[in-house]
């Protein structure tokens, strides 16, 4: 990177930063318990939880850091964190 005068820079895209590799624990969504309330999508700090065609919610593993906030906040305890095999 060439230095910008005054440490200035063009805005980047968060999408370029594939944070999924940071993950140790992965959220597992139990669709039997899920009430489709959407809390997980609302509070995900990475903004990587998308709504599927059948109104369930699915994390994008390219970006999910495995922070576990969704699991912590899910009112139905429908999300559990499991260690991911790498």
């Amino acid at each position: 990177m060439a230095l910008g005068i005054g440490c200035s820079s063009r805005p980047g895209k968060a999408g370029n930063n594939k944070t999924g590799s940071w993950r140790v624990f992965k959220p597992i969504f139990d669709h039997d318990k899920c009430t489709k309330c959407g809390m997980c999508k609302t509070i995900c700090p990475e903004g990587c939880i998308e709504e599927s065609e059948d109104d369930f919610f699915i994390p994008d593993e390219t970006y999910c850091k495995g922070c576990g906030i969704c699991a912590e906040e899910c009112p139905s305890d429908a999300i559990t964190m499991e260690q991911e095999e790498k």
Partner: protein, 384 residues
């Protein structure tokens, strides 16, 4: 046109003619008359600028960052405690390479509280990456504002600048000043064209964080820009001289120095009194000269070395003290003369408004001739 006016009013007029688009400042003695006058000019429509009233100097310079980053020619003024409160912001301004010009009406720092003149305030900020000019009289104080903007905004430089003039001694003195016309100023200082600016249609971020992989390089670039400023100042000062007859191309200026045995080095209004002292001492057969430092940052080490190489001794007068070390100018002049054999003696004087008279300058020369220096001069031992 030559007119007699108060220093602060002359500076305010020079600022007005530099066509700043945004002014943010907080009044503080002895700077107040400058910003009061500018506020009047904006209020009565003489000056088409945004005058932002703020609740502190910290806010004043912070508002200036926003204005300058958005591409405006920006101005502020302060002194003493006000400048101290701006400390953090000063580093941000220069690090973001924003060409803000700020007048410093030099005043002592508290405690103990003092509203009177010395140069501790701006000298204490010598490391913050701003260009620093020091004016000998109100003519220089006004002219240096045009030059400061021209240099600061140059793409080779892009650094902010202090124009320092001694509080009360210059700011509150009525004396004749040759004021340029608006047409003259416009010819010398064209409208500001920012190198980069905040623009929602073409967004950038400024002053991002630099990781350890980059920070050192940013400081290097900043230092390089300051070093490039030397040539840019010379050029801008020469151009000013060609257009208006007052040449400011030299960062240091000698007075009767060519054949001097003893050279005095000083900055600011002290230089006038020193020149009169030198004339008197010359009549008495003493070969004394002055080297005035007009530009303290970038520090003209090479120019100082060249100008002083022939003298037998150097007496540096500091209106500041780096407590536990020496006067800042003395330290740096000695550094510039590293390897030379003449003594470089420092004298700390005039702090907190203590008057400096011709007799004081003569006494200092006597001290220097007897090899005594690196001391406070003029102490009232009866109160110690």
């Amino acid at each position: 046109m030559l007119e007699i006016t108060e220093g602060s009013h002359a500076v305010a007029k020079a600022v007005k003619m530099s066509r700043p688009q945004v002014i943010a400042a907080y009044p503080i003695t002895p700077q107040t008359h400058i910003v009061e006058t500018l506020a009047d000019m904006v209020a009565n429509g003489e000056l088409d600028a945004e005058y932002i009233t703020v609740e502190s100097e910290f806010s004043a310079l912070s508002a200036c960052i926003g204005a300058s980053a958005a591409g405006s020619r920006t101005y502020s003024a302060t002194t003493s405690q006000g400048l101290a409160l701006m400390f953090e912001v000063c580093f941000n301004v220069s690090g973001m390479r924003l060409p803000i010009v700020m007048t410093i009406a030099n005043r002592a720092l508290g405690a103990p509280l003092s509203i009177w003149n010395d140069q501790q305030d701006s000298i204490s900020l010598r490391d913050c990456g701003w260009i620093q000019f020091y004016a000998e009289d109100n003519q220089e104080a006004t002219d240096l504002h045009y030059i400061a903007y021209k240099v600061a905004e140059s793409v080779e430089v892009l650094l902010p600048a202090f124009v320092c003039f001694d509080g009360f001694i210059l700011s509150h003195t009525y004396e004749p000043v040759d004021m340029l016309s608006q047409e003259d100023v416009d010819r010398y200082l064209p409208a500001y064209k920012p190198f980069q600016k905040l623009d929602s249609d073409d967004p950038i971020s400024m002053g991002m964080y630099a990781t350890p992989e980059y920070y050192l390089e940013f400081r290097y670039e900043h230092d390089q820009a300051m070093k490039r400023a030397k040539d840019v100042i010379s050029k801008a000062g020469k151009e000013f001289g060609e257009m208006f007859g007052r040449d400011y191309s030299a960062l240091v200026e000698g007075y009767r120095l060519e054949d001097a045995d003893t050279a005095i080095v000083a900055m600011g209004s002290l230089c006038g009194t020193i020149k009169d002292s030198i004339d008197e001492m010359r009549l008495a057969g003493k070969k004394v000269g002055l080297l005035k430092i007009r530009c303290f940052r970038p520090f003209p080490a090479e120019e100082i070395r060249n100008a002083l190489s022939h003298v037998k001794r150097v007496a540096v007068l500091d209106k500041n003290v780096s407590i536990g070390a020496k006067g800042a100018v003395a330290i740096e002049v000695r550094d510039a003369l590293y390897g030379k054999t003449m003594p470089v003696l420092g004298y700390i004087l005039g702090l907190g408004g203590r008057d400096v008279r011709i007799s004081d300058i003569k006494n200092i020369i006597s001290l220097a001739e007897s090899g005594k220096g690196d001391q406070f001069y003029g102490l009232r031992t009866e109160v110690l």
